[in-house]
């Protein structure tokens, strides 16, 4: 595949991914005349909390993966300390920004309650993401396997 074609394909695939929310947004604005139902400050709070929590939890997960990396590298300590610092930075940033006041506090009264809510919220969101990915992968696979089998040896048969 040529490089220009490849770039075009990727753009089309990205556009296809973004198409449903853009379509819903367009229909919502057309039907109601304005973009209502979304408070930008609440959305920003959710975005920030999700970013901080995803960063911290994913860093923790990747730190666990260093166990497998260390097996091939004589168990070095330096990357482990590096990821530990990166994870600690995520925890500290979360606590600091939530502690600043109402900016990142949703309906929770304290930093600890908000942090725990963020983690549980992340579990639920991740669960929804996993179910959605499983459904789409499964339906794609079942759509492929429901077709008649193809022969890859037409030339040889002739």
């Amino acid at each position: 595949m040529k490089e220009t074609n490849l770039a075009f394909t990727w753009r089309m695939m990205l556009l296809a991914f973004l198409l449903p929310p853009l379509l819903i947004l367009a229909i919502d604005i057309t039907c109601f005349g304005s973009f209502k139902g979304s408070d930008s400050s609440v959305s920003f709070t959710r975005f920030s909390n999700a970013t901080l929590t995803a960063y911290t939890l994913c860093s923790l997960f990747l730190m666990g993966n260093l166990f497998f990396y260390g097996e091939s590298r004589n168990r070095p300590l330096a990357p482990l300390v590096g990821m530990l610092l990166a994870t600690a930075l995520g925890v500290l940033a979360t606590v600091f920004f939530i502690g600043q006041g109402p900016m990142l506090l949703e309906d929770n009264g304290s930093v600890r309650a908000q942090a725990i809510y963020n983690v549980v919220h992340m579990f639920v969101s991740t669960g929804a993401i996993f179910v959605a990915i499983s459904v789409v992968l499964g339906v794609t696979f079942s759509a492929i396997t429901s077709q008649k089998p193809r022969s890859n040896f037409e030339l040889e048969e002739e």
Partner: protein, 273 residues
């Protein structure tokens, strides 16, 4: 009185730790243990640990009703049935088709379609019928507002992505692509219905608010995950860069080259039939 209050608070925290957070930790730990060992007994133990974790999380609304986190356990208990039906149904549909290995009987296809349909209708009934997960009468589980819009929005996006991928990269995959467009359109239609039609407990305005919050949530998760992967790559890169270059060895001598040539020559060719 203060001591009594703080002691009660501590008890609640310990209860939440033992009856919710430790079971939550048991799930990935059990899965990791079952996958990282080759022994059959250890694999079973790992699976049992993960299963026990899931059961304890589902029981958390009864074991620790005072903890707000137990609402997540309540949601898991509510959606595990329809989600398992959908996933098992898709598995039956997939493997009763034209697969080279592990093919199931053709009759499993109908059962798979039925299971997927029932699971899907069950989930839809949680929004527009009486099946909505409720912590107490008329109090909807707050995490349902996280799960349902995220699931629908992402399914719609991914199915559309998959349809275009099949069209652009696959060869003669129009029928499969149309099936994926249908899934995307169905999810999109459900989102539009949710934005316009009230359920018995969930209003369209509530759904609209949570849909855009789910969008913000997904963008936040993507950004946070990419940041952590970037940091991980930087840590590994800087460590690998700090390592001394490997010692280079001297080139092979004439006698070594001759020995290698003779070994290769002895393994080349073959007897005429």
């Amino acid at each position: 009185m203060n001591i009594r209050v703080s002691s009660r608070g501590m008890d609640e925290m310990l209860q939440a730790l033992f009856l919710f957070w430790i079971p939550v930790a048991m799930v990935p730990l059990g899965l990791w243990y079952s996958m990282s060992t080759s022994l059959q007994t250890s694999t079973s133990q790992g699976r049992f640990l993960a299963f026990s974790g899931v059961v304890l999380i589902c029981l958390s609304p009864w074991t620790i009703p005072s903890s707000p986190s137990s609402a997540a356990g309540h949601l898991l208990g509510a959606i595990i049935g329809p989600c398992m039906l959908i996933l098992l149904g898709i598995y039956l549909i997939s493997f009763s088709g034209n697969v080279p290995v592990g093919k199931l009987p053709r009759s499993d296809r109908k059962l798979g379609v039925l299971m997927t349909g029932v699971g899907f209708v069950w989930l839809v009934g949680m929004h527009w019928w009486i099946l909505t997960p409720q912590l107490s009468p008329n109090e909807i589980n707050p995490y349902w507002f996280v799960f349902w819009p995220t699931f629908l929005l992402l399914t719609s996006c991914l199915a559309s992505f998959s349809a275009v991928t099949l069209l652009m990269i696959g060869e003669q995959r129009k029928a499969e692509s149309n099936a994926m467009f249908l899934v995307s359109g169905l999810s999109c239609s459900l989102l539009l219905l949710g934005l316009n039609i009230d359920g018995p407990l969930i209003t369209a305005n509530e759904f609209r608010e949570h849909l855009w919050l789910a969008g913000a949530d997904m963008v936040g998760i993507a950004v946070g995950t990419m940041l952590s992967i970037l940091v991980f790559a930087l840590v590994i890169y800087s460590y690998e860069r700090s390592l001394p270059p490997p010692k280079s060895i001297s080139p092979p001598t004439e006698s070594e080259l001759k020995q290698v040539s003779s070994v290769i020559a002895s393994h080349l060719g073959g007897e005429e039939e």
